[in-house]
């Protein structure tokens, strides 16, 4: 079963770090308080929507492999030559 687009929870308890959110069917979760909207208090109802950001993933992966290539180009192409000693 696919997850819904958005979850609805009631704020049950609020601390500096974590909040307890209560959902339907006795669902209880710990949720980081810092993600809640500024006005949220005990008893508030919040909607939470989580989506995958495929575009950002692609961008990040591209940057990573570009960096790998740069490293390889810079440091992995040639072995140092023996110095040519003039006697």
């Amino acid at each position: 079963m696919a997850s819904p687009e958005s979850f609805t929870f009631t704020v049950g308890k609020l601390d500096a770090g974590m909040a307890i959110l209560l959902g339907e069917r006795a669902h209880l979760i710990e949720f980081p308080s810092i993600l809640l909207p500024p006005g949220a208090t005990t008893g508030s109802i919040v909607n939470i929507a989580v989506h995958q950001n495929h575009q950002a993933e692609r961008k990040r992966d591209n940057e990573f492999w570009e960096l790998q290539n740069e490293i390889l180009d810079t440091y992995g192409r040639e072995s140092p030559k023996n110095p040519d000693l003039q006697v």
Binding site: L14, A16, L28, I71, S79
Partner: protein, 664 residues
């Protein structure tokens, strides 16, 4: 009961049992407590005169470096003890002739978690068997022997020069004395490599992996210490076929051999197979760092954190790089996110009361060393002895090391400013909370949710469940209570630091910071577990913070700031005294132990030259201590001062020899 001198070993340390065989029993009972490599081998013998009426004596000592690959080699060790008993001073004496009647060698197999035992009767037979964690006997297989052999080798490699590992009557032998021995080690390591994670890992590693464990650490240390990476590289070349992650070790070996291009290529190829391996990312990261390519390195370190956010070392590396880059805000925030692990220490034997301790000592080597007796040079000012930093262990010690690096770069005042700009400070937290409380909370709810606060200020926060209340951060094991001249650090209390009775100065001096600015005592930051502070009532209806760009400071990090404050305070006083005495042309006197402590303190705070001076001053006193020699040896070695390195190395070796390390 008196132990006759003719029953003692000539050269080997030993402990005499009160009850015969109690050392073996104690070890069997403790087996299930060994979590990782286990303690050093235990060698227990029964000495007897053979005469009726004379009681047998039980004697034991610890030893590492003995070849534990077969019952024959262990039996040979026990047999060697028969020649180790003190000769009768006069041959015609009527004193009883003591002999080793039988012996039992115990060697912990860290892979299969069993104790290998070899019973030897003299004269008579050899009997080898395995004792499991429940104390039951089993037959030993060839595979078990191989695992035992490697376990013993790893202990010998990793424990022998670990200055924090002290054990009474611990004899240290060279584990590998020939090229053949080295080959056998490599073959065994290859065979057991896939099981390496079972022997545990460094205290800073949360989860032992196939490349992060005591086996790999032992291999890298053994070959790395002697700068002979070729054999290690050969081993890893074979292994990485099955385990791509081994490429990180292979690459490090090639870098140690100055084969950088090869190392880079190996990493690049392996990265395609295992891009999520933090050990691989770190190998690449360290290489780039050595080339000064910090911007590239930090990207890899960030990636490593993403791959292994539960590992301390990934956050540590990232923090280091932010310091390299001068991004001190990010460094502090990253440090704050480091996971801290309970420090368990090395597996240990349970200490038993003994009838006698025998530690033979020879004049020949003893002439080089000072007298091994306690003198006033072993005394030190209490303010120096109670510095909390030396008590730090494991992840806390490493995190503290990052903090001292940070302060050595930006200075104390700048560090405090950075701190208060990234973390919520106590006063801000309280004001914010107080406002929320007044606005939203009805009278009766004030004490209805959150801990029960008693009148006397103690807090009874009851038991909580995993899902409901976040458990408090684990109390950092090893950080002692911080007392600043007996006064507790008070939350929100900002005060000019005044030295009083108990400080190391007899005459009151102002504490001057490096730039002549008075040193400020740090204000306490608002921590995650402030909910249980008696001055803040936790309320269910409290609003969340509106400081979304500020973070809550972890309690352990706050503690480390206090530890740092203590270190800096004492250091500052010390340097002020030195300067003062110099201008007065008066000799500045300290005991040997005090110079040693000040040397350590200087090293912690990255003041190398002053630390070196302090350790050199240690040598002026006849105090029996190897530490100054070891530290100076490291420093001279880094400076490339060969002569002095050798001189200090000779002395360090003399100390080691006096402590039953036998070099071949």
């Amino acid at each position: 009961m008196a132990i006759p001198p003719e029953a003692l070993y000539k050269d080997i340390p030993e402990l005499f049992e009160i009850d015969l065989g109690e050392a073996l029993t104690a070890r069997t009972e403790a087996l299930s407590t060994f979590r990782e490599l286990g303690p050093p081998d235990l060698c227990h013998v029964v000495k007897s005169t053979g005469r009726a009426g004379t009681r047998d004596l039980g004697s034991y000592h610890y030893v590492s470096g003995v070849d534990a690959s077969s019952s024959a080699s262990l039996a040979a060790y026990i047999n060697s003890l028969t020649y180790a008993i003190e000769e009768n001073p006069t041959w015609f004496s009527n004193a009883a002739k003591w002999k080793v009647r039988n012996g039992c060698y115990c060697c912990f197999n860290a892979f299969s978690r069993v104790d290998m035992r070899v019973d030897v009767k003299i004269p008579g037979g050899v009997n080898a068997y395995v004792i499991d964690l429940r104390g039951e006997r089993h037959e030993a297989t060839q595979e078990i022997w191989q695992e035992t052999y490697v376990s013993a080798l790893l202990r010998a490699i990793l424990y022998s020069d670990d200055p924090t590992y002290t054990l009474e009557s611990y004899r240290k032998l060279d584990p590998i004395t020939s090229a053949d021995g080295e080959l056998r080690f490599l073959q065994a390591a290859e065979a057991l490599f896939a099981k390496g994670w079972q022997v545990g890992s460094d205290p800073e590693i949360q989860v032992a992996t196939v490349v992060s464990n005591h086996l790999t650490a032992g291999i890298m240390k053994y070959f790395g210490d002697s700068g002979r990476f070729q054999q290690a590289a050969n081993l890893f070349e074979k292994l990485r076929v099955h385990e791509p992650e081994v490429s990180s070790l292979l690459a490090r070996s090639y870098i140690g051999m100055n084969e950088e291009v090869k190392a880079v290529q190996i990493i690049a190829n392996a990265m395609k197979e295992t891009p999520q391996s933090y050990t691989l990312l770190h190998a690449q990261c360290d290489f780039l760092r050595s080339k000064g390519k910090f911007e590239w390195a930090v990207k890899l370190a960030r990636q490593a954190v993403n791959c292994a956010p539960s590992e301390f070392v990934t956050w540590e590396k990232l923090t280091d790089l932010y310091i390299d880059l001068g991004q001190y805000d990010s460094a502090l925030l990253t440090l704050n996110s480091c996971p801290m692990f309970t420090f368990n220490g090395r597996d240990a034997h349970r200490t038993l009361p003994v009838a006698k301790i025998h530690l033979p000592f020879h004049r020949a080597i003893g002439e080089i060393l000072p007298e091994r007796v306690k003198t006033e040079d072993d005394e030190a000012d209490p303010a120096l002895q109670r510095l909390p930093a030396p008590g730090l262990r494991g992840t806390w010690a490493r995190a503290y090391s990052l903090l001292t690096r940070l302060v050595s770069q930006i200075g104390w005042d700048e560090l405090l400013k950075t701190r208060s700009s990234v973390f919520v400070m106590e006063e801000e937290y309280r004001m914010q909370k107080a406002q929320s409380d007044i606005k939203t909370v009805p009278n009766s709810a004030r004490s209805s949710s959150g801990p029960v606060i008693h009148e006397d200020g103690t807090v009874d926060d009851g038991s909580s469940t995993r899902a409901i209340v976040s458990p408090p951060s684990p109390e950092p094991a090893g950080i002692p209570t911080i007392k600043i001249s007996g006064e507790e650090a008070e939350a929100g209390q900002e005060a000019e630091r005044e030295p009083d009775e108990g400080d190391i100065v007899s005459t009151p001096l102002h504490i001057n910071g490096p730039n002549g600015v008075t040193m400020q005592k740090p204000v306490q930051a608002a921590g995650e577990d402030k909910q249980d502070s008696s001055d803040i009532t936790a309320v269910a209806q409290a609003e969340p913070f509106s400081f979304s760009n500020k973070r809550l400071c972890e309690r352990w990090l706050d503690n480390l700031f206090m530890v740092l404050y203590e270190d800096l305070r004492v250091w500052t006083i010390f340097r002020a005294e030195v300067a003062h005495f110099k201008t007065q042309h008066v000799a500045y006197r300290k005991t040997g132990l005090e110079w040693e402590i000040l040397g350590d303190l200087g090293l912690r705070l990255h003041h190398k030259e002053e630390a070196k001076e302090a350790f050199q001053r240690c040598l002026d006193s006849p105090r029996y201590s190897v530490k100054p020699w070891l530290k100076l040896m490291e420093m001279y070695s880094e400076e490339g001062d060969i002569t002095r390195t050798i001189q200090t190395a000779i002395r360090a070796a003399a100390y080691a020899y006096a402590d039953y390390t036998e070099m071949t």
